[in-house]
C-alpha cells in the first residue's frame, strides 16, 4: 500500500559546514564540466588547422587574445587540478588513503602540485614566446 507521508531525507550540502574534502569533491566535478567546454575548443582548433594556414592562424590569434589566454589559463588550472585530484580518486578506488588524515594531506598535496604545474606551464609558455 502506498502512503503519502514524506520520508525523511538524508541531510544534503547546505546542512554541512564547508570542508576541504567536500569542496574539493565539488570542484572536481566543476572543473570536469568546464574542461568539457575546453574539448570543444580543442576540436575547433584541430578543425581549423585541417582547413588550412589562414583558418589556423585565425584560431591561433583567437586563442592568443586576452580572452583566449584567460580561458586557456582557466583550462590549464582546471586540467591540472582534475588530473591531480583524479589520481587521488584512483587511489581511493584502490582502497588506499581513505582515512580522514590522509585524505586531508593528499588534498593539500593536490593544491600544491596544481599550483606548481599551472605556474610552470605559463612560465615556460611565456619564455617560449619571449614574453609575448
Amino acid at each position: 500500500m502506498i502512503t503519502a507521508h514524506k520520508q525523511p531525507l538524508s541531510p544534503h550540502l547546505q546542512i554541512y559546514r564547508p570542508q576541504l574534502t567536500s569542496m574539493m569533491s565539488i570542484l572536481h566535478r566543476a572543473t570536469g564540466v568546464f574542461l568539457s567546454l575546453g574539448t570543444l575548443v580543442m576540436a575547433y582548433w584541430l578543425i581549423a588547422a585541417a582547413k588550412g594556414p589562414e583558418a589556423y592562424q585565425q584560431a591561433q590569434s583567437l586563442l592568443g587574445s586576452w580572452v583566449g589566454l584567460l580561458l586557456l589559463f582557466g583550462w590549464s588550472f582546471s586540467l591540472f587540478y582534475h588530473l591531480c585530484n583524479g589520481i587521488r580518486h584512483l587511489f581511493w578506488d584502490a582502497g588506499l588513503g581513505t582515512d580522514i588524515k590522509t585524505a586531508y594531506t593528499t588534498g593539500k598535496l593536490v593544491w600544491v602540485v596544481t599550483f606548481i604545474l599551472t605556474a610552470l606551464t605559463w612560465l615556460l609558455a611565456f619564455s617560449m614566446t619571449g614574453g609575448g
Binding site: 574539448t39 585541417a50 588530473l83 584512483l90 617560449m128
Partner: protein
Amino acid sequence: MDNLRTPLSRVRLWGSAREGTNTFIAQRLTAIALVPLLLWFVAVVIFLIVKADYVTFVSWIRSSWNTELLILMILVLFHHTHAGLHEVVEDYVHNEIIKAITMVSMKFFVIGITVASVLAVLRIALGG
C-alpha cells in the same frame, strides 16, 4: 568494454544486473590513460605550438607517432568527457524525459565531435 567483471562474480550473480560496473571501470581506465596523454599534450602545446608556424605544426602532426598519440588522446579524452558529463546528468537532472533527451543528444554530439576531430588530424597527417 564488455565483461570486465570477473567470471566468478557473474556466475554467482553478484552485483548489478546492468552495466554499471563496466561504465565505472571504463571511466577509471580512460582516466589512467589520460594522465600521460594529457601531460604529453600540454608539453607539446608549450614547447611547440605556442611558437610554431603552420608548416612546423603540420610537419609535427605528420610524424606517425604524433598522429597516433593525438588520435589516441582524442578518443580517450572524449570517452572520459562523455562518462563524466553522463554522471553529472544522472545525478542532477531529475525529470526523466529531459534526462533521456539530454543523454541521447549528448551521446550523439560527443560521437560527432570525436569523429570530426579525428578526421581533422587525419586530413592534416595525410595531407588532404
